[in-house]
């Protein structure tokens, strides 16, 4: 019986989900899967009860891999009736180097000719909402942001990298819709996720309205 294929960790902000494809050539057959994981340097493979004989092709191992200073392996096998495949195993997974950083929260405030941008770093995945929040900034001191600004009237766009969390865009056109796209970025880490985008309009130029009166 062939093994599951393409077994990898998909990780964003340390939410680490193991995913795989069904074995080739067994489409239409009702398979189940069992997952185990291993902490590099420890002694034995461990099971996750919620991922024993499951139908889906993913298993959330965030809790089991939450210590990002450790490295991990995971493996999955396919089961059909009395048959089961060999284990399919991941490469060594190092959350610290392999997680993708999600986009920050973006707050925009506009005046006539400027927009102030306030960024809040994304949060590390946590098991329970009441657990203390850990910012990805605390984990990656070199976290910075790629900000792109698009003037919807002039169709002009410009970008800049920033490390701090507040920025004021000046010398803008009044009464104009600007769209701001922000991506998180840590040198050396894999690509980044979908950026966050928000748009805001600068206010009408008060001086011109006064003249009209």
């Amino acid at each position: 019986m062939p093994k599951p294929t393409n077994i990898t960790f998909f990780s964003i902000n340390m939410k680490n989900v193991l995913q795989w494809n069904p074995p080739e050539g067994l489409h239409g057959i009702e398979l189940t899967y069992t997952v185990q994981y291993f902490i590099y340097g420890q002694k034995k493979w461990l099971s996750k009860s919620e991922c024993r004989q499951i139908n889906r092709t993913y298993c959330d191992l965030s809790t089991e891999t939450s210590d990002y200073e450790h490295q991990y392996y995971a493996k999955v096998k396919a089961i059909w009736e009395a048959n089961c495949s060999e284990w399919a195993e991941t490469e060594r997974f190092y959350p610290l180097l392999e997680t993708q950083i999600g986009p920050p929260e973006v707050a925009l405030a506009a005046s006539e000719k400027s927009i102030s941008i306030v960024l809040t770093a994304p949060e590390k995945w946590k098991r329970n909402p009441e657990d203390p929040t850990v910012s990805m900034q605390q984990i990656y001191s070199s976290l910075n942001y790629n900000i792109s600004v698009y003037n919807t009237k002039s169709k002009r766009m410009w970008s800049q990298f920033v490390t701090n969390h507040t920025l004021v865009l000046s010398w803008l056109e009044p009464n104009t819709l600007y769209c701001v796209t922000v991506e998180s970025f840590v040198p050396g880490l894999p690509g980044h996720t979908q950026p966050s985008q928000q748009c805001v309009s600068t206010l009408k130029d008060q001086t011109s309205t006064l003249k009209v009166k």
């Binding site: 590099y40 340097g41 392996y73 490469e91 050396g188």
Partner: protein, 152 residues
């Protein structure tokens, strides 16, 4: 890309990002050759960042020498891109080691008990394994060492 390492009174600047990038290109292939996943050489109990500030330089100096003398030049592969990457990593380590030797000359790289004890424990983990397996494992753990340096 430059990173300043604060090792007690010894301060050196290195291009850590370049080294990390270099290793990332061979990491999966090297780690895939490590069959002894139940053994870890660089353990958090011996980490650089949790070492007394005044002894960090000594521990790092020993670790760099270890990698230069017992890992990079003993790693057996016929893959030329990997060999090129290894020599580039070795050169980077040599540069850092020279900087640490300057600290040593200025008496800011003292070796005391903690650094020596930690290094000896790391060595004993390494020597638990058959030489070539140990070399493969140590090279595969370079991402851990680079993380320790990043955290220092």
């Amino acid at each position: 890309g430059l990173k300043t390492l604060h090792l007690g009174s010894c301060v050196v600047t290195i291009n850590l990002q370049e080294i990390q990038h270099g290793f990332s290109e061979i990491r999966d292939s090297v780690q895939a050759k490590d069959d002894n996943i139940n053994i870890r050489i660089l353990r958090s109990t011996e980490s650089l960042q949790d070492t007394k500030a005044s002894e960090k330089c000594c521990l790092l100096h020993h670790l760099l020498s270890f990698y230069l003398n017992r890992v990079f030049n003993n790693y057996q592969t016929t893959d030329h891109p990997t060999l090129r990457k290894l020599s580039s990593l070795a050169n980077s380590f040599l540069i850092i080691k020279k900087d640490l030797q300057l600290c040593h000359a200025h008496m800011t790289c003292q070796c005391e008990e903690e650094a020596i004890a930690k290094y000896n424990r790391i060595l004993s983990h390494f020597e638990e394994l058959e030489p070539q397996a140990a070399t493969v494992k140590a090279l595969g753990e370079l991402d851990i060492l680079l993380r320790w340096m990043e955290e220092s």
